[in-house]
């Protein structure tokens, strides 16, 4: 071990580095860092150092607590959350969650807490009884007075917009899933191969037909209006990318992230086929976007991507009045948002919607 005096000098020369790495330092190094800060209370940066030290100590406590939970004797503490979170689609959904759960199970299979296991199984049976007795949905509705059960007021692109704005193409019938007839085969091997290949072939044909049907179901403007990943990912990326968001705009960007989540949550589709949208979530996204944009400083325009998202949400809700000003504004901008806005305007023009109403 290096002498304390030598480390003290080293800390003095590289205090920033040591403060950054504080939580990962060995105990004797932490003592030296703390000592150095205390000894230099007359330094101009003293307050700043203390602030960083306090911050590091908070993180240290947190990481110590979290790390200590890895001990197998504490499995039972982490198990309920890990187990429930892995069973819910609305959970953190990480690979590590599954890995941790697997590890806990493996340790328990090796005999750590067999009695406890029996007890857990009994408790899970009780939880299953509870879940079977009254559904969460029914319970929530009776408690809150909100209605979740009714079919959500979905916005179907072609039907609603078609009724309201134009006499567009009607619904195309989805090609029904036909079962291919079993070909007569004599040899056993061919029969086995056939059994494997046929369902795959039928599935590929059905999916292809559905994809074509889904594509034809939408007009070009409808296809362009569908919310894509890029439409809802920009805000989060903006927050994460250094320099993209200035300090005063962070709160507004946090709102944009929430709005993007609403918009993303409103999308409903299986394998990208026949996309439709929950109108209430789109309304909420639009409302929050209005609020966020109002909070922008005077003479500051919302980012191009926000304008495009707003325009698309408005279009999906059939609110062309709100859509067109947002598009026109975005179209004056440089970059991909401007290009996207101009393309949408061309499609709208071709669909005779630019003159609306």
């Amino acid at each position: 071990m290096r002498s304390k005096h030598k480390i003290y000098d080293h800390v003095g020369r590289n205090l920033d580095w040591f403060l950054d790495a504080y939580v990962g330092l060995d105990e004797y190094e932490k003592d030296v860092v703390q000592q150095y800060v205390q000894d230099n209370s007359d330094h101009a940066s003293y307050d700043q150092w203390v602030k960083r030290l306090i911050d590091a100590k908070v993180m240290e406590r947190l990481l110590n607590d979290a790390g200590a939970l890895a001990d197998s004797s504490r499995d039972i503490e982490t198990f309920p959350y890990t187990f429930l979170a892995s069973r819910l689609k609305n959970g953190p959904g990480t690979e590590s969650l599954d890995a941790e759960l697997h590890k806990i199970k493996r340790r328990r299979e090796r005999g750590a807490g067999a009695e406890e296991d029996e007890e857990i199984s009994k408790r899970l049976a009780i939880v299953n009884q509870v879940e079977a007795k009254k559904s969460a949905l029914e319970h929530f509705e009776s408690l809150s007075g909100h209605v979740v059960r009714e079919d959500p007021p979905e916005y179907k692109l072609v039907t609603s917009l078609g009724d309201r704005l134009r006499s567009g193409p009607g619904h195309r019938q989805v090609v029904p899933r036909d079962r291919a007839p079993q070909p007569p085969v004599s040899k056993r091997v061919r029969r086995v191969v056939g059994k494997i290949v046929q369902p795959i072939f039928v599935a590929v044909v059905v999916v292809s037909v559905l994809q074509v049907a889904s594509y034809l179901n939408d007009s070009p403007i409808d296809r362009r209006a569908h919310l894509k990943d890029a439409d809802v990912a920009w805000a989060e990326r903006g927050l994460a990318t250094r320099g993209f968001v200035r300090g005063s705009e962070i709160e507004i960007y946090e709102d944009y992230v929430l709005i993007s989540k609403y918009a993303s949550g409103a999308r409903k589709s299986v394998f990208g086929l026949f996309p439709s949208y929950h109108a209430d979530m789109l309304h909420q996204a639009k409302f929050l976007m209005d609020m966020a944009n109002q909070r922008l400083e005077k003479n500051t325009s919302p980012p191009g991507a926000a304008l495009i998202l707003y325009a698309k949400i408005s279009f999906l809700l059939g609110d062309i009045d709100s859509m067109i000003p947002a598009l026109k504004k975005a179209a004056t901008m440089d970059g991909p948002s401007g290009t996207e806005a101009r393309k949408i305007m061309i499609d709208l023009d071709e669909a005779n919607l630019m003159q609306y109403p």
Binding site: L62, L63, L88, K261
Partner: protein
């Protein structure tokens, strides 16, 4: 040992949320937005998250603790939900709504257990009278954390933070922060020099400080 659990109904309900059940920052933003400009949708969203969170909280407790009856879950969820409904009018820290709901759950659970055992201590009585909302303002934040429930979340937050690190830092981070090994031990096990290990740990610390999951928990410790 395989564990069977069917959470279909809660899962379906929670999928109506645009954010995760543990996304405290998003929940707090949604709650603040609802208070600024309340609408039917925003109220539904706040209530939906609140209900799902409370229900999951008690499911965890039912798995963790012994001796509960299936009929008790519904009533304890209902009781807590009503407390949150009443208490939030008095909540001053709108940007801590998610954490506050968690505290109400914790206190209500203590009340619930105390009442079940028919032994009401003086401390518990004090808690019962306070637990609607004021307690949040009075209680030191270090006591907000409920070790038996939040432990899992905290551990997953760390596991996730490690998962989000670049691949070459995974092992070193696990060794240092999960297995609590010294620099020398890590160096021996990985074959890296001490200087490299230190540099790696420095990188890990810098990234941990920015990690959103850990940052969310950090506010509980401050």
């Amino acid at each position: 040992m395989s564990y069977h659990l069917d959470l279909h109904s809660l899962d379906e309900l929670a999928l109506g949320l645009p954010f995760g059940l543990d996304a405290c920052a998003d929940v707090n933003t949604a709650y603040s937005a609802h208070l600024r400009s309340p609408t039917t949708e925003s109220a539904k969203l706040v209530d939906l998250w609140t209900y799902c969170f409370i229900r999951r909280y008690y499911l965890m407790k039912f798995i963790r603790e012994n001796g509960f009856q299936s009929c008790e879950l519904e009533s304890v969820v209902e009781q807590t939900y009503r407390k949150v409904e009443r208490g939030r009018k008095r909540l001053k820290q709108h940007n801590r709504y998610a954490q506050w709901v968690s505290v109400v759950c914790k206190n209500n659970f203590i009340n619930f257990v105390t009442r079940r055992s028919h032994v009401i201590t003086l401390d518990a009585t004090a808690m019962i009278s306070d637990s609607d909302g004021d307690l949040f303002e009075l209680m030191p934040e270090s006591e907000w954390v409920d070790p038996s429930v939040d432990a899992g979340m905290l551990y997953v937050a760390l596991a996730r933070a490690i998962e989000d690190l670049p691949q070459f830092l995974h092992h070193v981070a696990r060794m240092r922060f999960v297995e609590q090994l010294s620099y020398e031990e890590i160096g021996r096990l990985t074959g890296h020099s001490l200087a490299t290990v230190r540099a790696y740990i420095h990188k890990v610390c810098t990234r941990f400080r920015r990690d959103p999951g850990l940052r969310e928990f950090k506010s509980w410790y401050e």
